[in-house]
């Protein structure tokens, strides 16, 4: 029986033009969900509205049964909604490990009280594979390590829902596969995921259900095969 973890009902957002128009999206508990669409179709705006960075101009957002439409961003994070940023935004004045102590402090689920915050941070870094860089500064990291740090920070919140905004952009084929394995494992441990991606093979192999946005409007919804064969989707990406 599928229970909805996230329900966006008729969500709209205007910046003079409609960035999102009456978008209905439901993400179920434990699901691997994909959100795709051409550039400027509103995907990142959707994440911004869900996390509370931007207020809605219409519609309702329900998380885990609770109406969070007007809830402040930091409270949503503490409820268990975590996100990565398209352009990584690390805390540049702190070491990699210290970067994790902030979200750890506000983690949604109670932390394992036997472990200190530093130990928990190391645990997550090990999971992601960057524990060797624990004392390095974000300025010294490679692109992929920055992406991994973004992911680690999001995980430190002990999220129920993880929103991934183009976390694979610019990575090599091997790096994409590495990341997909990590994400698969996390999903199996119970974290629901919503992935925004342009790398189609990643989306198609990873996601169970996909929604396609174009110019702020939902134009298709279904499994990977349905989406691949959908004429509307093809038109949206390739133009008329």
């Amino acid at each position: 029986m599928k229970t909805a973890l996230l329900e966006a009902k008729s969500v709209s957002k205007f910046f003079g033009f409609p960035a999102l128009l009456n978008v209905d999206i439901q993400v179920n508990q434990g699901e691997r969900f994909g959100l795709i669409g051409p550039n400027g179709s509103g995907k990142t705006t959707f994440i911004n509205v869900i996390t509370g960075v931007l207020p809605t101009d219409g519609g309702v957002v329900i998380f885990d049964g609770k109406d969070i439409t007007t809830l402040q961003c930091y409270r949503r994070a503490r409820l268990g909604i975590a996100r990565t940023f398209q352009i990584p935004k690390p805390f540049i004045s702190m070491s990699i490990m210290d970067n994790l102590t902030i979200p750890l402090r506000f983690a949604a689920h109670a932390r394992d009280s036997n472990l200190s915050i530093e130990d928990e941070a190391m645990k997550i870094l090990r999971l992601i594979g960057i524990e060797s860089k624990a004392n390095a500064m974000p300025g010294d990291l490679t692109q992929i390590d920055m992406r991994k740090l973004e992911l680690a920070k999001a995980l430190a919140l002990s999220p129920k829902l993880l929103l991934l905004d183009e976390v694979m952009a610019g990575l090599s084929s091997g790096e994409v596969d590495d990341l997909l394995i990590i994400l698969r494992n996390l999903n199996e441990q119970g974290i629901t995921m919503l992935m925004i991606e342009h790398i189609m093979r990643a989306v198609m192999s990873f996601c169970e259900r996909i929604v396609v946005l174009n110019a702020g409007i939902k134009i298709a919804e279904g499994g990977p095969d349905e989406i691949l064969n959908n004429k509307e989707v093809e038109k949206a990406y390739l133009g008329e």
């Binding site: 509370g52 960075v53 930091y74 805390f91 004045s93 102590t101 902030i102 979200p103 920070k153 919140l157």
Partner: protein, 309 residues
């Protein structure tokens, strides 16, 4: 925390009481008071400017509010200096809260402009308010000194010493706590901090309020020190520039930075002002400020840390 607080606290109080027994040069307390005053102001500025990244260009305004609030308490309500300091701090803190609240959703520059505007408005209000003495100012007579102090100035010095100690310890505590880490996170990237669960609005408001509070407290004993208080005696621009320059010279990332900056820059100014005019003094501070912000933005502490690694 407790051990590292009470022992030094007692030592500082003892120092304040014992020094006058050995150092009889009045000028020492006269100059020392100012250095300590700036230590508090610089520390207060850095809490908001260095840690959170919000620049206050109206430090003079907060200081003047503290001084006048205290003067009113001392002159008209006959209260003692401690109550006056609290009242001054509360009023300045409320101002800090107000300015913060109005500008909190905006970019840092608008907070900076708001503080500038505030200091100009405060000066205008005081100059035009006759009950506060207006441009003619207020005369305040120092009370009689009480043992072990033979001069009230010695007591003021000891008081400032203790208050400076408290301020620095408070900021040091904050720096090392999770609040301090969150401040730095907000300065680094406010958006990501919010998404990581940091209550950015509340913490920014805490910083502006606390910073304002400390600035007001720093200004409270000033009426007794200067004995003739008028709107320009607080020399608004000098106060603001010093409160910026000292943390920048000492180092904005560490609680010791404003302390070092206050001692070095404040001490230098006391020596210089006996030899050169106050305008040249201002010029030198301005040049030092710009030089440090361009060449050594991490201040002296930053330079030392870089030498080490």
């Amino acid at each position: 925390m407790k051990k590292s607080f009470f022992l030094p606290a007692i030592a500082i109080i003892a120092l304040g009481i014992l020094l006058p027994q050995f150092v009889k040069v009045s000028y020492f307390y006269f100059a020392g008071y100012i250095v300590l005053q700036f230590m508090i102001l610089a520390t207060a500025w850095n809490l908001l400017g260095g840690y959170v990244g919000y620049v206050n260009f109206g430090v003079g305004g907060f200081f003047v509010i503290g001084a006048y609030t205290s003067a009113v308490m001392l002159l008209f309500l006959k209260s003692n200096i401690i109550i006056a300091m609290l009242a001054a701090g509360i009023l300045s803190g409320a101002l800090g809260f107000g300015v913060g609240y109005l500008t909190i959703r905006l970019r840092g520059i608008f907070f900076a402009i708001a503080t500038l505007a505030l200091s100009i408005i405060i000066q205008m209000v005081i100059v035009n308010w006759h009950w506060l003495g207006g441009a003619n100012g207020l005369y305040i007579f120092r009370p009689e000194p009480f043992p072990p102090f033979s001069d009230y100035l010695e007591f003021l010095f000891a008081l400032m010493l203790f208050v400076a100690f408290l301020s620095v310890m408070l900021v040091r505590y904050i720096e090392k706590s999770w609040i301090g880490k969150c401040f730095i996170a907000i300065r680094d990237t406010e958006e990501a901090s919010e998404c990581m669960g940091v209550p950015t609005f509340r913490l920014k408001l805490l910083a502006t309020t606390l910073s304002g509070f400390m600035m007001g407290v720093a200004g409270a004993p000033f009426p007794y020190y200067i004995t003739y208080l008028e709107p320009y005696s607080a020399m608004d621009l000098l106060i603001t520039v010093n409160s910026l320059a000292m943390p920048l010279v000492g180092g904005t990332a560490h609680w010791l930075g404003p302390v070092i900056g206050a001692i070095l820059l404040g001490g230098a100014q006391q020596i210089v002002s006996v030899t050169i005019s106050s305008e040249w003094n201002l010029l030198i501070i301005g040049i030092v400020l710009i030089a440090f912000v361009i060449l050594a933005p991490e201040g002296i502490i930053g330079l030392i840390q870089r030498r080490r690694s």
